[in-house]
């Protein structure tokens, strides 16, 4: 599948999921645009295609995950590390599922259970030129969504 086609689908799905799940409206960062500064702490999540080599990866600023948790679960509670990881894992799950539908993948293609963890330092959040990825800006907080191929 062409890089541009995947990027277009990722943009549509991420905007749809964040609007409907978190009432958030991110802006897509164009590839020739400068990226806002990177946070000190962030999270990463991955959802692999079962018996395949493709994995959807998400990288996010820690503050964005906190904001997502507030919008989803309520702002009146402190969030444990496990809550934040669970919120980000579920986000990856929803984006991956919707992406499969949007790309019209064959019904035999299924997803594995997602995994998520804290990531320090956040160098993986940097854009990789030419990669099948899209960067999003949430008023200074960053999200990177990438489709990567691994040798398994």
């Amino acid at each position: 599948m062409k890089r541009e086609e995947i990027q277009r689908a990722v943009k549509e799905v991420v905007l749809h999921v964040f609007e409907n799940m978190y009432f958030m409206f991110p802006e897509v960062i164009a590839e020739d645009e400068p990226v806002p500064s990177f946070p000190e702490s962030c999270f990463k999540a991955g959802v692999a295609v079962k018996n395949g080599s493709e994995t959807l990866m998400l990288y996010s600023s820690e503050q964005l995950v906190v904001d997502m948790a507030k919008n989803l679960l309520g702002a009146d509670q402190p969030f444990a590390e496990t809550d934040l990881i669970d919120v980000f894992k579920e986000t990856a799950n929803v984006i991956a599922g919707n992406l499969m539908t949007r790309l019209g993948l064959d019904s035999s293609v299924a997803l594995d259970v997602p995994v998520a963890e804290r990531l320090q330092p956040c160098s993986e959040l940097r854009p990789v030129p030419g990669a099948r990825e899209v960067m999003f800006d949430f008023e200074g907080q960053l999200l990177k969504v990438a489709v990567v191929t691994s040798d398994r």
């Binding site: 679960l73 809550d83 669970d86 539908t101 019904s107 997803l111």
Partner: protein, 141 residues
């Protein structure tokens, strides 16, 4: 009549969101039960009665599809309505789940009114009864 609801999802976040959505929708819920996968759900159902089950599909240990099969094989719970809450949107997959006995599918991300409408339909409630109840409780959904 109060309904007992079993929510099955490996994400505690999603269980919490579904629970809050149902509470806000004005349903008369007796008890909420929660399980992190199909096996835990079956264990809950060994001890408790649920009037409706909302389950995710992708879960570790025992997924939603295996849970549907297991429920179908148990006489005591084979008629309990099961609603799948999933990111899956491909027609073939959804048709397959409905063919396996699921009563409805809700696609993530969902809006609160989608859960409300599907639960009303599955539980056989009408809008008028819900509005009367909301008026009584002052709950404006």
């Amino acid at each position: 009549m109060a309904f007992n609801v079993l929510i099955v999802d490996d994400s505690s976040t999603m269980r919490s969101v579904i629970r809050k959505t149902i509470e806000m929708s004005g349903f008369d819920v007796g008890q909420f039960f929660e399980a992190g996968n199909g096996r835990e759900a079956l264990s809950v159902l060994d001890k408790e009665w649920a009037d409706i089950i909302l389950t995710d599909l992708h879960m570790p240990e025992m997924d939603g599809r295996a849970l549907l099969k297991a429920l179908h094989a148990q006489a005591t719970v084979s008629t309990t309505p099961v609603v799948i809450v999933t990111t899956e949107g491909r027609e073939e997959r959804l048709d397959e789940l409905l063919g396996m006995g699921a009563r409805a599918c809700i696609k993530k991300p969902f809006r609160p009114e989608e859960i409300r409408n599907i639960l009303m339909d599955v539980l056989g409630m009408d809008e008028e009864a819900m509005q009367d109840k909301e008026a009584l409780e002052g709950c404006d959904f």
